[in-house]
Amino acid sequence: MNFELLLQLIINGLIVGLLYGVVGMCFVLVYKSTQIVNFAQGEFLLVGAWVCWALLIYLELPFFVGFLLSLAFMAVFGVMLQMIVLRPMIGEPIISVIMVTIGLSIFFQSLVKWIFGVSPQSYPQVFDTQSISIFGLNIELAYLMSTVIALIIMIGFYFFFKHSKHGLAMRATAFDQQVAQSLGISVKQVFAMSWGIAATVSATAGVVIGMVNGVSNSLSAIGIKVFPAVILGGLDSIVGAIVGGITIGILENVAEFFDSQYLHIGNMYDIAPFYVLLIILWFKPYGFFGTRDIERI
């Protein structure tokens, strides 16, 4: 058994899993505060990464300026999306809401393909060295940066929700919309804000992944991969999303390892999370940290 490879894969899984966790957190944020299941989460990553790429290549801005500009764009994009498309859907049955986000996902996916083409592109070089070695393991510097960014985002989320007025308003809205409204919270503003935050933070993850693997349409697949992660953790738990993300990240790499070493089934990396998803839905549909949905007559 090749322990070194396994360890390397687990580390990779941990790093990728942290990013899944970040995207999952955005998903949970939108679900908790607006009760919308966002199938267009992956497109936030896609659009954000491509906008950043276009700013860097066509306008030749320095990396951090372009990065911050694209984040600002994504914040506006998320808010506009909520105002134009999702606001008329408030109070509609769940299938309509799901279908609207699926429609958005298809629309933006093909829009991006149309504008930027289908071939993957890479960002200009940000760091001088490619990878450094820690304890004998090779870790790409971009991966290390992604870990740092993911951790910063998570800590930022914690302080935002615990210690800021807007965070408190969002938690109140998630708890009970009517009560929140009667206490003077603008629920509309909270809805728009949660979409803005989700779009911005997802775009950060998109840029980071794009720096490592290149920007391509496969970024939108992350939006689908997030489902196993959030279901594992429980749909309405932010901690659950992080734990689920890390678990799925490690799991797909470990599955890949065992597959390539022993089983030789192939394609395990992409498909293993979905088997896990089915098993969880079968035995524990509300995940590990989610609240049970109790219905009263």
Binding site: V37, V85, P88, M89, E92, I94, I95, S96, I98, M99, V100, I102, G103, L104, S105, I106, F107, F108, Q109, S110, L111, K113, W114, I224, F227, P228, I231, L235, I265, G266, N267, D270, I271, F274, Y275, L277, L278, L281, W282, P285, E295, I297
Partner: protein, 357 residues
């Protein structure tokens, strides 16, 4: 079978028979018969392009009706219908080539096989609902798609598999003109069956489960049974549609049955109108004609002096996809009840013209 709200005033029904009828008036019945009768002569009049469109409408229409039974009548969500459609296609080709079963028996058999698979994946549906079910069927979509690429004995792997044309009494239906009749027969048969299903005890149970599942359960409707049954019937329709697709094209490859296809089926159902059998057909026609119309529009634009924009002409494939996404969004915002509702409104408007109120 229109719902109460859509019925114009003065249209009273005094017996169960009247309430349950498929055709509300004699005119509708004769008109339907006339349309079907005229459709029988279509191959003599229309050229091959329109026949292919019709055949496309028929196999997609059968599958979409299955999805409407699941989504529109039972209120369950499925994002894996495209995969079930593909499973039907491969199953029929596999049964035919591996066991030498005649094709016209293979098609219903493929339907039943798909039904079994659909019920297997629908099993969680007995426990979960709403968006959890959507995510479970999403997983089913990816797992079945992966299975197509992997199972060489079943689907031929990445090479795909060949499907023989339908043969009946030594006559091969291998041209567009002859297959048209098979498509027409299957479409009419499956739609009448769908109508009848909704008039039966099971159909009413589906609607009860959709409208208020707790009340339904209290009234003695077994929730698990009907949710599972609905999944089975929907997969059966998908399997039949898929099998017709396979034997029409003569070749099935594993690439086509993606999540995008599932979304297209959902789009047909939503655009047509959830819970409307007539609407399903309208939605399918709309979704089949939309790309054709776009292509025609761009074709006309290309010849004018102002419209020959290379980005639009070259990116037509992406514009088609974008149009599908956009149409879903616009319909859900502006006409959530679909074309069937719009049709009813137009009918009511003319019925009371010029005093529509």
């Amino acid at each position: 079978m229109s719902s109460l709200a859509m019925r114009p005033c003065g249209d009273f029904r005094t017996s169960y028979k009247q309430d349950n009828t498929i055709f509300e008036t004699k005119t509708i019945r004769w008109f339907t018969a006339l349309v079907i009768g005229l459709a029988c002569f279509a191959p003599f009049i229309l050229d091959a392009y329109y026949l292919t469109l019709f055949i496309q409408i028929s196999y997609l229409g059968i599958a979409a009706l299955g999805l409407n039974i699941l989504v529109g009548f039972t209120g369950q969500i499925s994002l894996g219908h495209g995969a079930f459609f593909g499973f039907g296609a491969f199953a029929s080709a596999w049964l035919n080539t591996s066991f030498n079963i005649p094709v016209f028996i293979c098609i219903p058999m493929a339907g039943f096989l798909t039904m079994a698979v659909g019920m297997m994946f629908g099993m969680p549906a007995a426990r979960i609902k709403g968006l959890y079910l959507a995510i479970a069927t999403l997983a089913a979509q990816f797992i079945i798609e992966d299975f197509f690429g992997r199972a060489e004995w079943f689907s031929g792997g990445s090479a795909g598999s060949m499907a023989n044309p339908v043969e009946l009494f030594g006559f091969a239906f291998d041209t567009d003109e002859s297959f048209y009749y098979i498509a027409l027969f299957a479409l009419v048969f499956m739609y009448i069956w769908g109508c009848n299903l909704m008039r039966s005890r099971d159909g009413r149970a589906f609607v009860a489960v959709r409208d208020h599942y707790l009340s339904a359960e209290i009234m003695g409707v077994k929730l698990n049974k009907y949710r599972l049954l609905s999944f089975g019937i929907s997969s059966f329709y998908a399997g039949i549609g898929g099998a017709m697709y396979a034997h029409y094209l003569g070749y099935v490859s594993a690439e086509g049955f993606t999540i995008f296809m599932s979304v297209q089926f959902l789009a047909m159902v939503i655009i047509g109108g959830l819970g409307s059998i007539k609407g399903t057909l309208m939605g399918v026609v709309f979704m089949v004609l939309l790309p054709e119309a776009l292509e025609g529009g761009v074709g006309i634009m290309k010849d004018t002096s102002w419209g020959n924009i290379p980005m639009v002409v070259d990116g037509l494939a992406y514009i088609k996809e974008m149009a599908i996404g956009l149409v879903i969004i616009l319909f859900l915002i502006f006409e959530p009840e679909g074309l069937a509702h719009r049709w009813q409104q137009i009918k009511n408007y003319w019925k009371f013209y010029p005093f529509s109120y």
